[in-house]
């Protein structure tokens, strides 16, 4: 591993990184699909929130008396799911923001290095969210398996 040697006086960030035409098209394509996934994720998060609100509204009217005692637990579960939906929307917005930066890298020569740096910053938070939701999903699956086996 070569240790980067940085002069104390760093040059200005590069306005242009000499990507080949092929690489520019690839980066523009990456930005396009990142943008698509970001918007889909935001849409899915909003749909999830609306569904939770609808379920909460309907359940408040028709829940049988036998389940009233568990309404606190159900409410907490609803809040957790709502929080998850907000996180999903946030992740989608980060993905679209990173996509916009990478698109600028491919289409302009203004500040390639700066756009890369800010795009990577957005992607860092996006993957952090992905890892967190991934661990939560695994934990919930394991608990379902354990309690399912115990119930059987």
């Amino acid at each position: 591993m070569v240790t980067p040697t940085h002069d104390s006086r760093e040059p200005d960030s590069l306005a242009r990184i000499p990507f080949s035409k092929h690489d520019e098209l690839m980066i523009a394509s990456l930005a396009k699909w990142m943008n698509f996934m970001g918007w889909f994720q935001m849409f899915a998060g909003v749909a999830m929130l609306l569904l939770l609100v609808a379920v909460a509204t309907v359940a408040g009217h028709i829940v049988p008396k036998s389940l009233k005692a568990q309404s606190g637990t159900l409410g907490l579960l609803g809040l957790l799911l709502a929080g998850l939906a907000v996180v999903i929307i946030w992740g989608g917005s980060l993905l679209t923001a990173a996509a916009d930066r990478f698109k600028l890298v491919a289409l302009t020569d203004e500040a390639d290095q700066d756009f890369l740096a800010t795009g990577f910053g957005k992607l860092k938070t996006f993957f952090l969210i992905e890892v967190a939701t991934g661990f939560i999903t695994i934990a919930v699956t394991v608990m379902q398996f354990i309690y399912g086996k115990g119930g059987a």
């Binding site: 990456l30 699909w33 302009t108 993957f127 952090l128």
Partner: protein, 143 residues
């Protein structure tokens, strides 16, 4: 966003940059990003393997194997891409080439995810809209 500047017109093939002068802070961001990306890749591989194995215990073997394989492939791309992008921040040998390699892996991941989402949306549209409409037409034609 297009500017007044002329569109990028790369001249004759230019040598790839050995070093992109990222700041220390930006390099740290890239290293951290590659770490989370690698972890996301491992999680994807893990869930893919679990999906494949769980398919062996139920009737959805084919669906589980396909879904699991796709998750493993995406996970491997993420891990590989993370490795390339980490080299951008930790070395000065071929920053631009490592950047392109990392971006290619990322593009593969998001392209595959987008294709799966589009397939899902088409199926949902068919199930929710087209099939009931066709059944309704059929019932009316039958009288």
């Amino acid at each position: 966003m297009m500017t007044d500047q002329p569109s990028k017109t790369p001249g004759p093939t230019e040598p790839s940059l050995a070093r992109i002068p990222f700041t220390k802070q930006d390099e740290a961001t890239i290293v951290t990003m590659s770490m989370w990306m690698r972890l996301a890749g491992f999680i994807s591989c893990f869930t893919g393997l679990v999906t494949i194995l769980s398919g062996l215990t139920n009737l959805n073997l084919l669906a589980n194997v396909i879904a699991g394989l796709l998750a493993v492939i995406m996970g491997l791309w993420l891990v590989s891409g993370a490795g390339s992008l980490k080299l951008v921040a930790t070395t000065d040998t071929a920053d631009q080439d490592h950047l392109v390699a990392g971006f290619q892996k990322l593009r593969n991941v998001f392209l595959l995810k987008s294709i799966l989402v589009l397939i899902y949306l088409i199926i949902m549209f068919a199930v929710v809209v087209i099939v009931p409409f066709v059944l309704w037409i059929w019932r009316h034609l039958k009288g």
